[in-house]
């Protein structure tokens, strides 16, 4: 017996329902990660959605078929109405994920969220030791708090998912990171190399690992994985390698407007959490229903299908597999979001990726030279 079958189709021919809803509750966050995917000018963001507005979004999403729900940010814990939103989500039938830095979390909250119906808490770490972790996060107490909260999550009976964003300053720690996770009893470990949007694009030179660093890390992860399999461990390692070292782009978000729907703190609806940087008008849940946003808005239809593609994608026989890659990456690296993702070796702009690889081989910048994500720096970006 095989367990899977083909994806469903939604209310419009060829457009499936948004099965995943990401609720970015706020851009506020006590940390300052230099790779944060929030917009550079987050400090300018207008009023956050109210509790009632979020509840409406959750209901509409569930009616359309959304089953996975992520609460993220910023730091979602700064929203006082989080327990209320969790309870509403659970009652609607969502599988509810909380994606948190662990700051502002407490054992009492971990338990209260569980009682409200939260399914899973993902705690993100910056490194396997306090010095490096706290330097990257821009906070002196972060590491101990994260450890304590990871333990509390386990204790409360949640599946434990730990997330580490990997870059050139912690990529040498793979073994330590995985063994820390094993000691904590993690079920899933995400080792996610930076994706270069938002603050990470600004800091790319200071974050991107070299090819040699990456190969060493991959070998370490594979060795560890074999050891885990041999010992019958159920801990799952997910290593997301940077696409800058690939010759073909990733199938970004599984296709534009095909599965994922993000709602930003101010109600802007996006096909992925970094799409805000594109020169496209995206709809707002304050003005339209999620249904009309998903199926009918120009923003969500902009890159559906393949009639928008220029060459080399247009006549490429691989376009059904990667959809031409990531629109944000195309925009950031070529100035035109219609272009092929320059990760692709068929792209006429692939030299920009090659240049970034070369730069990574020779980079010397220390952590202290990165631009940290905080309100002061954000205001600078806004002024330009």
């Amino acid at each position: 017996m095989t367990a899977r079958h083909a994806m469903p189709t939604g209310d419009r021919p060829g457009i499936g329902p948004p099965l995943w809803l990401l609720a970015e509750l706020t851009y506020r966050c006590p940390l300052q990660c230099p790779y944060c995917s929030n917009p550079l000018d987050f400090a300018q963001t207008q009023q956050e959605l109210t509790t009632e507005e979020w509840v409406r979004v959750l209901r509409q999403g569930r009616e359309m078929g959304a089953a996975q729900l992520g609460f993220s940010g910023g730091e979602p814990l700064v929203r006082q109405d989080l327990p209320e939103l969790i309870a509403e989500a659970r009652q609607l039938g969502y599988y509810t994920n909380l994606i948190t830095s662990g700051l502002g979390l407490s054992e009492a909250k971990v338990n209260a969220f569980r009682d409200a119906g939260l399914d899973h808490i993902q705690v993100s770490f910056q490194a396997s030791d306090p010095e490096l972790n706290n330097a990257v996060a821009g906070s002196r107490k972060a590491f101990d708090q994260k450890l304590a909260m990871a333990r509390a999550v386990k204790e409360a009976g949640y599946p434990m998912v730990l997330n580490f964003v990997i870059h050139r300053h912690n990529i040498h720690q793979m073994e330590d990171i995985i063994s820390l996770c094993e000691r904590l009893g993690a079920d899933y470990v995400e080792l996610a190399t930076c994706q270069y949007y938002g603050w990470a694009f600004e800091n790319r030179e200071g974050l991107m690992p070299s090819k040699a660093q990456l190969e060493k890390a991959e070998a370490e992860v594979n060795r560890y994985r074999e050891r885990l399999t041999a010992s019958g461990s159920a801990m799952k390692l997910i290593f997301v390698t940077p696409d800058y070292y690939e010759e073909r782009p990733k199938a970004c978000m599984n296709g534009w407007g095909s599965l994922f729907l993000t709602v930003a703190p101010d109600g802007t609806a996006l096909p992925c959490h970094s799409a805000r940087l594109l020169p496209i008008d995206f709809p707002n849940v304050r003005e339209s229903s999620l249904h009309s946003i998903w199926y009918d808005s120009p923003g969500f239809n902009h890159y559906r299908g393949d009639s928008w593609m220029p060459e080399p994608c247009r006549s490429c026989d691989e376009k059904g597999r990667d959809f031409g890659g990531c629109r944000c990456q195309a925009y950031l690296l070529t100035g035109n979001a219609d272009n092929a993702d320059p990760v692709c070796s068929k792209s006429p702009h692939h030299d920009r990726i090659l240049a970034a690889r070369q730069a990574a081989d020779h980079a010397t910048a220390g952590l202290e030279e990165l631009t940290y994500r905080n309100t002061d720096n954000s205001r600078l970006f806004f002024r330009g």
Binding site: A3, L19, M64, D119, H120, Q122, P159
Partner: protein, 91 residues
């Protein structure tokens, strides 16, 4: 090791099994993931309640699908596969 038929399967912590009208299918939900199940996988997992052993589940399903003949092999094979995927645990 006890025989598979005597073992009691249950969903791994953090996994949820439910019917999704929009997909017209049962799904298995877990941290940041979802598997859409076909009819037979859905029918088997629906009976996995952490109380009944595999033999009971086979008997229930054979009652539900009297035309299907013996289901022991299919069900066992599926449950072993589900265990390998770490969807379920046996106790």
């Amino acid at each position: 090791m006890t025989k598979l038929l005597e073992q009691i399967p249950r969903l791994r912590p953090g996994f949820r099994f439910q019917w999704e009208p929009a997909q017209n299918a049962h799904v298995l939900l877990y941290p940041e993931g979802m598997v859409r199940l076909n009819d037979s996988a859905g029918a088997v997992l629906k009976e996995v309640d952490g109380q009944r052993n595999v033999a009971d589940i086979v008997a229930t399903l054979e009652q539900q699908f009297p035309d299907a003949g013996s289901l022991e092999d299919d069900v066992s094979e599926f449950l072993k596969d589900a265990e390998q995927q770490h969807w379920i645990l046996f106790s």
